[in-house]
Symmetry: none
Subunit: 181 residues, 2 copies
């Protein structure tokens, strides 16, 4: 049986190198693309079994790659990975056809687990995993900001206006990482 072929779309130099190596060691064949165009070329020329897409590719998101991927490769499973996770983008990604969504930081095992994981039904079905703590205010703020920012197609100035906060402040908040939980 031949090796499974994974498409890795990730613009972070270091992270992509680490991931590539980790996946290769686990006996996968990995093709890496650092941006949307490179990714499209690969998608059109190769059959992939899986895809790992970093949500934030420089300017825009990698969500646009989902459709071409699905079209060329109806059987591949797609995992969206992001350092700036939010419920809004997660919902959007899944709606667009991604199979899973994972927040960085995550190690290779975690990522592979999320990518291969097919026993979806059990994930949340058990009542114990039902996380009963309310969101922290920071987390809630982050989610809300992401939602509004998304509604404004990434326009920071407009988002700041609607949120009644200074653009400079929003800008600074966005540069930080999302809150753990």
């Amino acid at each position: 049986m031949s090796k499974k072929h994974i498409l890795l779309v990730e613009d972070d130099e270091v992270f992509s190198r680490v991931m590539s190596r980790a996946l290769t060691h686990r006996d996968y064949e990995v093709s890496h693309a650092a941006n949307e165009d490179e990714a499209l070329v690969l998608i059109n020329s190769t059959q992939f079994d899986y895809a790992i897409l970093d949500l934030n590719l420089g300017g825009h998101t990698s969500l646009g790659l989902i459709a071409p991927l699905k079209q060329k490769n109806p059987v591949s499973r797609i995992l969206i990975l992001t350092g700036y996770a939010s419920i809004t983008t997660a919902v959007e990604a899944i709606k667009l056809g991604a199979d899973n969504y994972l927040a960085k930081p995550a190690d290779a095992d975690e990522i592979l687990g999320a990518l291969l994981d097919n026993n979806q039904p059990d994930t949340v079905a058990d009542p114990d995993s039902a996380h009963l703590e309310p969101m922290s205010v920071r987390r809630l703020e982050w989610e809300h900001i992401q939602k509004v920012l998304n509604e404004n197609d990434g326009n920071i100035s407009e988002t700041a206006r609607q949120l009644k906060m200074h653009r400079r402040t929003l800008q600074r908040k966005l540069q930080k990482r999302p809150v753990a939980k």
Copy 2:
């Protein structure tokens, strides 16, 4: 044209009453269920256009209602609502067929927006959907704090713990008056 029929599954007495009224005033017909069994009875006896499900129903989740709903009512749009939002449950809900996922606190407009949202051709042109301003981050924070504080029967220390903020900070926030909007 007859009114659109909404199924509201929500175990919180107060919240469900408020929502029911708000939706009724907006000219929807609302059926309310406080638990899974009640909901199933309604699903089997009525045709719904939309459904709003609180994710946490006492012990388990309301995700199990998605399948029956979809089966009986292939056209309905389903919104999952929860005070304990997390990316994991959001992804799960969308995978199971929910159309959107929203974190409380959320007002009726926000909820309806999330429910009707999306490229639904017939609702896009709706002139009534006049520009919904998102809550400011301060307002959202205030609402959330009040809600959690309430769940904890006014216990400031416990609330601060859950919100992962310093008790002193919470105390100071509470001394100020609520934000205008």
